[in-house]
């Protein structure tokens, strides 16, 4: 039950990454990190209590979104959804991410919610996190004892649980530079326009003419974490993308997912339409973002 009163906490305001990780070293198991706050504040008004909140508001450098044709895209911890939408580079080179940001939550939330926050939330219904899963990426985690990199493929362990340790601060996400012929797209289904996804899918394909050289296909709302669809990826790599192949893909999807009944939809419905959604997101990627 939501409360109008939040549990008491100490607000800690580090002025550098090193101060932030020092605070995490001493309070890590009793601290939450605040960037956009769109998940944290909801939790605090519900039943979540934590002794310390470490705000990144004063930490410089974390709000950088940079693109380099060689090195790819770097998304800092405080980069918001609106930053993503304003980036012509993201729109051009990572359409899946741009499309996910476009429909993410509501205008007010997009102003403050961060991309990394969406990844750290480890929701099986995340939109931006799903697009990035398909695009691939590496998360930089820093603690008092140093830095480490974690591949997104290894980051989500179970519902709401990630590979981040309590004393680690997520600094940035590195998304590889697009390969030649790379096409990506994101697509979701909701009850109304402004809503959490009830089913979402994202793909990143490396195309050579009609032939798909490599594929990453990811789905949300079909298990405790976001999932990749290895069988579908394999089928994509086999042959040119034809209507028959798309049908085969559509028929295969259900065997790779394990959705449940919840308030947003039913397991039965998700199993029935997941293949349709994957087929359509592939078409969307191939059409360069134009829905046909």
């Amino acid at each position: 039950m939501t409360s109008r009163v939040m549990a008491e906490f100490d607000l800690l305001l580090p002025y550098s990454v090193s101060e932030a990780v020092t605070l995490l070293a001493s309070h890590g198991d009793k601290a939450a990190v605040l960037a956009g706050g769109t998940d944290l504040l909801v939790a605090l008004k519900f039943d979540y209590a934590v002794e310390n909140i470490i705000s990144l508001a004063q930490v410089p450098g974390l709000d950088k979104l940079t693109y380099d044709p060689e090195g790819g895209l770097t998304i800092g911890a405080r980069v918001t959804l609106v930053d993503i939408l304003k980036s012509a580079d993201v729109k051009e080179h990572y359409p899946a991410l741009w499309q996910a940001a476009k429909v993410f939550a509501t205008p007010q939330l997009r102003n403050t919610a961060t991309v990394l926050g969406n990844i750290l939330r480890a929701s099986p219904a995340g939109d931006c996190s799903l697009a990035l899963y398909a695009l691939g990426g590496t998360l930089t985690l820093e603690s008092a004892s140093g830095r480490r990199e974690v591949d997104l493929d290894d980051f989500w362990l179970s519902y709401g649980v990630t590979a981040r340790k309590n004393d680690e601060l997520a600094i940035a996400l590195q998304v590889p530079a697009p390969q030649a012929g790379q096409k990506s797209a994101f697509r979701r289904m909701t009850r109304v326009t402004e809503d959490l996804s009830k089913l979402n899918a994202a793909v990143c394909l490396q195309m050579d003419g009609d032939k798909c050289l490599s594929a990453r296909v990811a789905m949300g709302c079909v298990g405790p974490t976001l999932v990749r669809l290895p069988k579908v990826e394999k089928i994509l790599r086999q042959a040119g993308i034809t209507p028959d192949l798309l049908q085969e893909i559509s028929d295969t999807v259900a065997s790779e997912i394990a959705p449940i009944d919840d308030i947003r939809s039913s397991a039965d419905y998700r199993l029935k339409v997941a293949g349709v959604l994957v087929k359509r997101v592939i078409m969307l990627a191939l059409n360069g973002g134009n829905d046909q």
Binding site: M1, V5, I263
Partner: protein, 786 residues
């Protein structure tokens, strides 16, 4: 058409500046000296249980706590939060079976969120912290979430005086055979060539008004109970509270705060009894109670959900011969509005088409759902979902065009209205249908969408409705208005009608200005203080403009008459020879003989003696107009909506492409206000038919009493929409106006369902029509064919 100067104009709304700048004072914004805060402890673990122990001791020790109250610490009087008992005669009250079955706090939990106890503390935070320390243990009882479960012979009885948990059925005394009926349906069905019949489900839709319930109460040093509330019904709530706390009306004062939306959620009492009970426990200190959204959701009423069965019979030539229907609603835990909606749901059905015979039965069963009550349309959207789909099924079997059939068979002037024995006195539904049909291109699209085969299929559907302006003769329709003329010739209108955001204070002010012949700027609306205002039954039943406007008009005519009487004396002319222009009363045909309203008003107040003559200057006495108004009719609004949709055959998703709403509004006093009502109504109608439902688990725990999981249509979901205002003045409405507050929500419900039927060839019998249901129905159809 007469020459109107203020009526029909898009004047600036009286509330708009305060609302868009954040200056409007909602109850939550009101701060009083020495304010205390209440927090109610509710049962969120069970939907049906007995309290086996209640320990308040730890809470009482908490910092900042002033008092902790259990069920025995407040009035033991039971009450009924609804106000229907005050709008019908004492005899009818008995017939309608109204009972007082609610208490401030309970030891018998009947729904998720029932109130157990409360804390009063010096801050909201302290109250909430202390409330967490209240320990309650429960004995779980079986839950009954549907009428079917509640009427089972082994089910526990909610109230001994309501056997079988049947809270209400149409009473035999007023409705023979417990039915709202004419003719003999069995006989008529025997002569039918085509019979269609099915059982539907209509959802538990929530009003989702923006402002969650917030209340302040103060039992002051004059032993007066003051309550600040955004109620839709100040005068009836004043009387209800007077009854509950056994006080004379002079010792109960309601202060209306700015209302952040009503839609029926603020009909009657909501948390006024609890807040006042807390205030009575701490005399001299104001107590504020702020609901969370989740709390508001389960303590204020919803639309009545339930099973709705209907059967219709037609002759081959389309003649509607019989309609038989039964609405079994899942009433909820308490009696509130058990009778009203159960009746009106059938009244709207009876008011629509010229069936030879009709029989409607309405039954309300106690269940462990949160209470149902008034919600925009009051049974009409439910009937529209069912009736209009059945008509379209009939039309499909008859092979006739749904608009042509409706045009031919809808009731009109002279036919019995929604109330048998009260004929319709105006009806412009044909024009509504014609203009809507032309605006959307009905004929072409209907032809074009036959025999589609693609993945995405389009459909177009129509629905019509009848409604009411006030509920005469079912309810006591009465509003008192007085008009005070100041010495500078401006006026203050004093009445109790609430403006819940629909714009009624603006339109009432227009009616006043037009009637007086004064500029809009010279009129001020004084509203919201029950100490000052006379009787009124509140803002509901699309009545405020029709009945409140009637009262304003009559009171302003009284002022005008007094002005003319005095002018006649001063000018030594017959009243019949006078006319007013720009607030100056002239003598016809005599250009230099006149007196200004300003002079009359000033002399009435400042009635000085002429020192030379010793005579009084002008006519003495401040002018006041008065009306205690009972409307002669219920000026029926009619309306038609045509909806165009697109259905994705692979996912079952529905996209509404366009809506055209054409409404017989009598006269649009303020076209922008009317359009606002139709827009908002359509938005809620689309939500009801496509997305909105309250879900419970098998233990009766509500799963979506919040905006994360209860999905309404938002602005980004709305289709292209056109509102056509058909102005055909009603003979009884102020300047011909009819009520439009509820009409807008009704026909989009049936029209959208029918558009889906047109697109996919299947009728979905349960609202909301979700993609999940559509896909399932498509799969079943395919299975049936293979």
């Amino acid at each position: 058409m007469e020459d109107l100067k203020v009526v029909g104009k898009r004047v600036e709304r009286v509330d708009v500046r305060a609302k868009v700048t954040g200056g409007a004072l909602y109850a939550a914004d009101v701060q009083l000296a020495g304010m205390l805060y209440g927090k109610i402890v509710r049962c969120y673990d069970h939907a049906h249980a007995r309290v086996t122990s209640l320990d308040l001791s730890e809470a009482a020790k908490c910092k900042g706590v002033i008092k902790v109250l259990g069920p025995k610490d407040v009035t033991q009087k039971e009450y009924n939060a609804s106000v229907l008992d005050m709008m019908v005669s004492a005899d009818m009250r008995g017939v309608l079976g109204d009972i007082d079955d609610q208490s401030i706090f309970t030891d018998h939990v009947k729904h998720y969120g029932d109130a157990i106890a409360a804390v009063i503390a010096t801050s909201e935070e302290a109250a909430e912290r202390a409330a967490e320390k209240i320990r309650v243990t429960y004995e779980e009882l079986p839950v009954y979430m549907t009428a079917e479960a509640a009427k089972h012979p082994d089910a526990l009885q909610f109230r001994p005086e309501k056997p079988g948990n049947l809270a209400f059925q149409l009473p035999e005394m007023a409705f023979p055979d417990n039915a709202y009926a004419w003719g003999d349906v069995e006989d008529s069905f025997a002569g039918a060539d085509i019979i269609v019949e099915d059982s539907f489900y209509v959802p538990k839709q929530k009003q989702c008004q923006m402002e969650p319930g917030t209340y302040i109460a103060l039992y002051d040093d004059q032993k007066r109970l003051n309550c600040w509330t955004s109620t839709q019904m100040p005068k009836l709530v004043q009387k209800k509270l007077a009854n509950l706390f056994e006080l004379p009306m002079t010792r109960v004062r309601i202060n209306i705060t700015v209302i952040g939306g009503g839609f029926g959620a603020r009909l009657g009492m909501v948390l006024e009894p609890e807040t006042c009970a807390l205030a009575m426990a701490v005399p001299g200190r104001p107590v504020k109670l702020l609901s969370t959204r989740e709390e508001d959701w389960v303590t204020s009423p919803s639309r009545h959900p339930g099973k709705y069965w209907m059967k219709m019979g037609f002759k081959k030539d389309g003649t509607p011969v019989a309609c038989d229907a039964r609405f079994e609603n899942y009433k909820g835990a308490y009696y509130v509005d058990a009778s009203g909606t159960a009746f009106t749901t059938g009244a709207w059905l009876g008011g629509m088409y010229k069936f030879d015979s009709l029989r409607y039965r309405g039954e309300s069963y106690y269940t462990n759902q949160s209470i149902c009550g008034a919600f925009r349309g009051y049974g009409n959207p439910q009937t529209n979902f069912v009736m209009e789909q059945m008509v379209d099924r009939g039309c499909a079997e008859l092979g006739v065009d749904p608009i042509e059939w409706r045009r031919k068979w809808h009731k009109t002037i002279g036919d019995d209205g929604w109330c048998i024995g009260v004929p319709y006195n105006s009806c412009a539904l044909d024009e509504c249908l014609d203009r809507a049909s032309a605006a959307i291109g009905w004929t072409e699209k209907r032809a074009k969408y036959k025999n589609q085969t693609g993945t995405v299929r389009r459909g177009i559907g129509v629905a019509v409705m009848n409604h009411t302006s006030g509920a005469m003769p079912m309810l006591l329709e009465h509003t008192v208005c007085d008009v005070l003329m100041h010495q500078d010739a401006t006026v203050t209108i004093n009445l109790a009608c609430s403006d819940m955001g629909q714009g009624s204070h603006t339109t009432l002010r227009q009616v006043a200005a037009e009637t007086l012949g004064f500029p809009y700027e010279d009129v001020h609306m004084s509203v919201g203080d029950t100490d000052a205002a006379g009787f009124d039954i509140g803002a509901h039943a699309s009545r405020t403009l029709y009945v409140g406007g009637g009262a304003v008009k009559q009171a302003c005519e009284d002022v005008r008459r007094q002005l003319f009487d005095r002018a006649a004396l001063e000018l030594e002319e017959d009243v019949g020879n006078l006319y007013m222009e720009d607030k100056i009363i002239h003598v016809k045909g005599s250009s230099n003989k006149s007196i200004s309203v300003q002079t009359i008003a000033d002399q009435g107040v400042n009635n000085f003696m002429n020192p030379e003559t010793g005579e009084l200057i002008g006519q003495p006495g401040q002018i006041q107009g008065y009306a205690s108004f009972f409307p002669p009719h219920n000026a029926p609004p009619f309306g038609a909506t045509i909806a165009e949709v697109e259905v994705d055959m692979e996912t079952g998703e529905v996209r509404v492409i366009e809506l055209v709403n054409a409404h017989d509004v009598g006269r649009a006093i303020h076209p922008g206000v009317v359009e606002g009502q139709l827009d908002g109504g359509a938005q809620q109608g689309l939500g009801m038919v496509l997305t909105e439902e309250t879900y419970y688990d098998d233990k009766g725990i509500c799963l979506n009493n919040n905006f994360t999981d209860y999905k309404m249509f938002g602005p980004s979901d709305m289709p292209k929409m056109t509102n056509i205002l058909v102005e055909n003045p009603d003979p009884t409405g102020p300047f011909g106006a009819k009520g439009v507050g509820e009409a807008g929500i009704v026909p989009p419900v049936g029209a959208t369902a029918n558009a889906i039927f047109n697109a996919i060839g299947i009728q979905i019998l349960e609202a909301p029509i979700t993609p999940e249901k559509i896909l399932k129905a498509l799969a079943e159809k395919e299975k049936g064919l293979s």
